[in-house]
């Protein structure tokens, strides 16, 4: 098989009422690629992520995952979503389930794995993100950084084809940002396909293959991180970078 991109968006449009949030977005992400999406608040980055696993519907254009168009509703959609992992800004761990249950629920209920196999794998993943010893705690008993690492383990347990991160460190206290970025960096190094909305420029430089800059619902420019940070070609990107880098 020729290498079709893993994720493609073609001329994707999305409105919230009058508001035109995504304007003719074209984007394709190759297998193993790490794409960082940056842009001002309100530019449509979260919406972009959410359309890719159809937490938001689109008004026009087409999205494919691994060559398959996103199904409309029902079981086909659920199956496809299980291949697209999502890590949220606010973690969204299931509050009434333990850490271990959070990580095993998908494999057991969606992938139909046995409980034993799911737990064995979950403990490996929790170990890998550094929280195996907290497996029986509830999310509220963990720090934000720990919760976000559990959320990453939960997404990984589904063995997704692509992982999406929507500002995964924005809700964290500063001292916890690095522990989450470290996990993400090692995933990137291992060849996981990732789409990451973040303002962590260090992570973008270190781990990304490509930076996509969005403003007002459009992709304004995209380039390798070094090129983008050194020579942004658009005025809007220059303005944006000068604002966040001057902090």
């Amino acid at each position: 098989m020729t290498a079709t991109p893993l994720v493609t968006l073609e001329n994707v449009d999305k409105h919230f009422g009058e508001l035109h949030v995504l304007r003719g977005i074209d984007l394709s992400v190759e297998r193993g690629e790490v794409v960082v999406v940056i842009g001002p608040s309100g530019s449509g980055k979260s919406t972009l992520c959410r359309t890719i696993n159809r937490l938001e519907t689109i008004d026009g254009g087409a999205i494919t995952i691994d060559g398959v168009p996103l199904p409309e509703e029902g079981r086909g959609l659920a199956r496809l979503r299980s291949d697209v992992g999502m890590v949220f800004q606010s973690f969204n761990l299931f509050a009434h389930k333990t850490v271990l249950q959070n990580v095993t629920i998908g494999p057991i209920k969606v992938r139909k794995k046995s409980k034993a196999a799911a737990e064995k794998r979950a403990l490996e993943l929790l170990d890998r993100v550094g929280i195996a010893n907290q497996a029986n705690k509830y999310p509220a008993q963990l720090s934000g950084g720990q919760q976000q690492r559990v959320a990453i383990a939960r997404a990984l347990a589904m063995e997704p084809k692509v992982l999406m991160f929507d500002e995964p460190t924005s809700a964290l206290d500063p001292e916890m940002v690095q522990e989450v970025l470290d996990v993400m960096t090692s995933l990137a190094a291992e060849g996981m396909t990732m789409i990451v909305v973040t303002h962590e420029m260090g992570f973008a430089r270190r781990a990304a293959n490509r930076v996509v800059f969005m403003a007002d619902g459009e992709i304004v420019e995209q380039a390798a991180p070094d090129d983008f940070f050194a020579n942004p070609s658009s005025q809007r990107a220059k303005d944006f970078l000068s604002k966040i880098l001057s902090h």
């Binding site: 937490l55 979503r81 299931f94 509050a95 009434h96 998908g106 209920k109 969606v110 008993q141 589904m158």
Partner: protein, 224 residues
Amino acid sequence: MEAFLGNLDKVIDGFSWTVRLTLCSALFSFILGVVLTAMRVSPVPMMRGLATVYVEGIRNTPLTLVLLFCGLGINSALGVALADSVKWDVFWWAVIGLSAYTACFVSESLRAGVNTVPLGQVEAARSLGLTFTQNLRLIVLPQALRSVVGPLGSVLIALTKNTTIASVAGLGVQEASRQMKLMFDQGIAPVIPTFIGFALGFLILTLPTGFFFGWLSKRVAVAR
């Protein structure tokens, strides 16, 4: 007081029917209440509509009318029997009426509980690939239920007291309040002590229910 205690077997028999009515109706109204709640949050407009019409319709009808409809309407007029003996036939019709009515309040409580579950929980479950029903069964309803244990306790207490209407509304279940009235009618018990005795009997049923649900609601509360 002696007369009251002398008829203790009647009192106990009455309350045994009260408890049976309460437990059976609690079970069925809980099941129906969950189904109604699921319908009311379903993505299918038709389901939502049906459930809303049911809940708003029955909830706003006096319980006496609901039970009269079951007793005089379906049971007597249409001659539909649910059991061979009259005693059990009226019992089951009363359970149906009480359950149909109480389910509306269970559903209202649960729906308030569903509203306390943050949208992020639902989205995380969706993004794992859980289907709508799995999401409801594994994530939303368990959290909703935990947040409305207290209100459900109040619904159960109201149900316990509402069982007394089952005899007034033509369904001659021999529950506690009917036993009391029979004791008055037969002139075998002085009025005031008997009243107090039966009222205490209801307190003995409902007070622990309230304490238990209060304790349970703290125990199962979801920390966020």
